[in-house]
């Protein structure tokens, strides 16, 4: 076993919101051709038949307004562009058409193709180029937040493709319950930003097991004291709000929240781990986005192992059932650890959010039977901690 894996004691996952790989990291292809980003020639037809090209004009805020549609029917359009052949052809040509549907403004619809130049995202860019960036990390389903995040917690969304409430079904347990219920038990926590932001997992987890939860302030304190649980999941701030401590800016990067605020939050999570030497050398930090938010990406989502559930045409609202046999659109995902070679580009392997509980379960528990077929067959990512000598050249972030 590589020395890095021998040292590993903690896995931390930070899941951000609603940005595609090309939108956030596509520009890195110009710096490193191994990164499957943008050539600059990618286009989508607009509703007048003219090609709308990708452009490095993404802004931090007030551009993607209205919030691009990322529900199942819209994502279906984005991927298949209304193709009705049998089998259907996934072309990734429907993004501009989909965004046009929301405001009926041709010029505005082109903005769905905009991406960030690397200098505007110093944190994500640095982490992607200093550690491991995944060329093929996809949302688990071509749909919205709630069901995609479910794959990160349970390895399945229990047949849900929308934002509606769903309930855990036996025999599948959340990764937290597996770890805590093991013999000997492990420790696990979900850190939400504060009580006003709280968690997306209110119905199945917070309602029944509030002891699994703590605030981000607690995360910072736990990092400082070196008492982080074995497995931690961090949720960003989902709203602009005020507390007794002052103004709290949403940091999830969900449109139309400020993207720079998310950069600050990501840097804060990284710094909290890195500033404790023991924690830094024993932690793997995964930063991933739950879904693409309706924003352009050029990579066709692949087929995948079904997870045993089926969404009816009434659920998908597309007139077709969905067998959970195709992944969602590609999202940014970066793995951080001083045991990862600098500039690692993970290619040729397909990851999705079910990889998260699979990785944590396999690492902490080994064999564990009651998991969805999707999770059981998903890739794991800790093999990327391949160095035998820990790096001492990892960057620091100075938050201004």
């Amino acid at each position: 076993m590589p020395v890095g894996l021998d040292h590993l004691k903690h896995i931390v996952v930070l899941m951000m919101e609603n940005r595609s790989f090309d939108h956030m990291l596509g520009a890195l292809k110009a710096r490193d051709p191994r990164i499957d980003g943008l050539t600059g020639n990618e286009t989508n037809p607009d509703t007048q038949g003219e090609p709308a090209k990708v452009q490095p004009l993404a802004e931090f805020q007030s551009q993607l307004d209205p919030d691009p549609d990322h529900h199942f029917p819209a994502v279906d359009l984005q991927i298949f562009n209304d193709d009705n052949s049998n089998p259907r052809l996934a072309s990734m040509q429907g993004f501009v058409k989909s965004y046009f549907n929301q405001q009926r403004d041709v010029r505005h619809s082109h903005k769905i193709m905009y991406y960030f130049p690397p200098e505007k995202l110093p944190v994500l860019t640095t982490l992607a180029t200093e550690f491991a960036v995944f060329n093929r990390w996809f949302a688990s389903i071509p749909g919205p937040t709630v069901c995609n995040r479910a794959f990160a917690h349970y390895g399945t969304s229990f047949g849900q493709v929308s934002m509606d409430i769903f309930y855990i079904k036996e025999p599948y347990k959340s990764v937290y319950e597996r770890l805590i219920g093991a013999n000997p038990p492990h420790t696990a926590k979900i850190y939400y930003y504060d009580q006003s932001s709280s968690t997306i997992e209110i119905v199945n987890l917070l309602q029944h097991q509030p002891q699994l939860f703590a605030t981000y302030d607690q995360f910072l304190d736990d990092c400082k004291k070196g008492i982080l649980p074995d497995y931690s999941f961090v949720e960003p701030n989902y709203t602009d709000h005020t507390t007794g401590s002052g103004e709290e800016l949403a940091s999830d990067q969900h449109p139309d929240h400020n993207v720079q605020a998310g950069e600050v939050f990501t840097a804060s999570v990284y710094n909290a781990i890195k500033q404790n030497d023991d924690l830094w050398q024993s932690t793997a930090l995964l930063i991933a986005y739950d879904e693409h938010g309706g924003i352009y990406d050029h990579v066709v989502p692949p087929a995948c192992m079904p997870d045993g559930f089926v969404a009816s045409p009434n659920d998908t609202l597309t007139g077709r059932e969905f067998r959970f046999d195709r992944l969602g659109v590609r999202v940014p995902a970066v793995l951080v650890s001083p045991w990862i070679p600098k500039g690692t580009v993970v290619d040729g392997r397909v990851f999705e959010h079910a990889s998260i509980p699979n990785t944590a379960t396999k690492f902490f528990l080994g064999d564990y039977a009651p998991r969805s077929p999707r999770e059981a067959n998903s890739e794991t990512f800790l093999d990327l901690l391949s160095l035998n000598v820990m790096r001492t050249d990892c960057p620091d972030f100075n938050i201004g």
Binding site: P122, M163, I165, S196, I202, V203, T239, L249
Partner: protein, 109 residues
Amino acid sequence: MAVIQVPRPPKEAMNPDRPVSTLLRAQLLHFHAVEKNLPTRLRTKTYVHAIKTEREAADYIRQVTEAVFKAHAGSAAPKSRRRTRKPPAQDTPGDQGGAAAGTDSSSTP
């Protein structure tokens, strides 16, 4: 070891009066479903469908989150012990006589 500067967003980025997104709207409905399971004394008096802004959403979410913790803390608290009334003695066939013993029972929250 490189030190990367991370600029903070401008103050104008803050807008708690921003209309709720579809994500936030869904989160509100999830919280509302959970609120309905809480003891009556812990429920808010908020009509969740009238929530329009992030400020209002955050306030409601905070209240329900706090209430969930309170509900669990309340059910974990030691219960007061209260004797139940003994039922009146009755002669029934096969009875050897004597009233059924009363039992101590927990009070409900």
